[in-house]
Symmetry: C2
Subunit: 243 residues, 2 copies
DNA sequence: CCGCCTTTTTGACACAGATCAAAGAGCGGC
DNA sequence: GCCGCTCTTTGATCTGTGTCAAAAAGGCGG
């Protein structure tokens, strides 16, 4: 489990300062966090935490992608969360987690020892409030994923996944770049979408053949027809307005 | 949308006093809640809230079962949450919800107008803390469900569902009663498990034929072989201990 | 630049669960 | 107690996706 400690950057210069668990903190509170944080790095594929293992720290993702996954008796696995920069790992008030946490890409975490962090949560409402928002956002995402896993076809699953990646890369790059990264292997995508890797491959190629997306290489794609892509997700575009 | 106001019972005598959003409140805080609450009743099948509709109140389930569900363009639907007594509806800081809320059985809610409730959340850490716990519990449940929806077979889904109902009815009745209620129709169960109602029916009867469960009538069952039932869920019984 | 290892693609086939259809059960209203 | 409704069961068939297998494409170290 090769985890290296790195020197921490200053909170005020942190790339996730405005979105992570510290987003609402003022300068004083930030100083407290600064004093208890440490950085850890992981290589793609490393396991960060095992299910049931005592949880010694909580953390924010600073850079890279981590995933939460659950496994059945016979080895079938399902990703139950994808953690991107500013997302939070761990839950105050519980010393265990019910899933494995793995580095999907090379990863940097900003870690806090659990005990002092929990004390901080009790005392600073800004951290508690932000933690609550993050949890509720995750809950929303989990529910969207339940609809996908329970009711969408393989084609719809892939289209939804592609659309999500494209939207995210458009917003976070804050430019209208057309090329997006595919941050996982076919196998990982399959575990995320509740499919097999063969089906993932077939559906990607099917969308490509139809001219909806295009691949420059295996890990980069471009959306050619956003309308058709949106149609293919099966989502109800109607915002729920009552007529 | 037949919703009737009932006279409220006293918070101190409320059946969900110790588990709902008010669980950690002291007497003073309870008095504040008492002042802003009102009860509403719904008949089985009533829609409580529509997706996207402005959210005028938040609520705790006092009695009965409510469900959260999402729908695709063509009408396929997936339940994304089952709300039992003491569960909470609504999310502070957001005026809309992303799913429909429906009464699965006859239902009683303890409602709070959103604006005053949000002010209360800001001021009383006990409510905020409890809300956080409830959200995180729901997140855990959502993740278990993602594993079920993405990777379990029809048989495993039904076994998991039955096991969940049996465990719940055992704990909440606080006696070792053997008969449990099935609080939903086959169609609702299908929407919860990501199956069709025919498959639900077939799998129930298959478990019955094998002597694992038994039905006295369509809405009550008894677990005859808990070991076999547990096996049939496909879950990894190992708590994640590392050898 | 070559060879080895991993990831991805492609093909053939099987099967779990969906779909379509119709019969049976349960239950409230009259 | 009978009618008419909804919910459930059962049967026959179809199909999307999984499974098994093997070839192709990258990618990396030497």
């Amino acid at each position: 489990m090769p985890k290296l400690k790195l020197k921490a950057i200053k909170c005020t210069e942190c790339p996730i300062r405005h979105r992570a668990v510290c987003a609402r903190c003022d300068e004083d509170e930030l100083l407290l966090l600064e004093g208890m944080k440490s950085y850890r790095s992981y290589k793609a594929g490393d396991t960060i935490l095992w299910r049931g293992e005592p949880l010694e720290f909580v953390a924010s993702v600073v850079d890279g992608v981590a995933s939460l996954s659950k496994t059945l008796e016979d080895g079938r696995t399902q990703m139950v969360g994808l953690l991107l920069p500013s997302d939070f790992i761990g839950r105050p008030g519980r010393s265990q987690i019910e899933f494995d946490v793995t580095a999907t890409s090379d990863l940097t975490l900003c870690c806090f020892d659990r005990a002092p962090f929990e004390r901080l949560v009790e005392e600073t409402p800004h951290v508690a409030q932000r933690l609550m928002e993050l949890a509720l956002d995750e809950l929303d995402a989990a529910r969207d994923w339940m609809l996908l896993l329970g009711r969408k076809t393989a084609r719809e699953k892939i289209a939804t996944f592609v659309e999500m990646l494209a939207r995210r890369s458009r917003s976070e790059a804050s430019n209208s770049q057309v090329v997006s990264k595919l941050p996982m292997t076919r196998d990982q995508i399959a575990n995320y979408l509740g499919l097999t890797l063969e089906t993932v491959s077939r559906q990607f190629n099917s969308l490509k053949k139809e001219g909806i997306i295009d691949f420059s290489n295996r890990h980069e794609f471009e959306v050619k027809d956003i309308i058709a892509l949106n149609d293919a997700t099966g989502d109800d575009s109607d915002g729920g307005v009552i007529f």
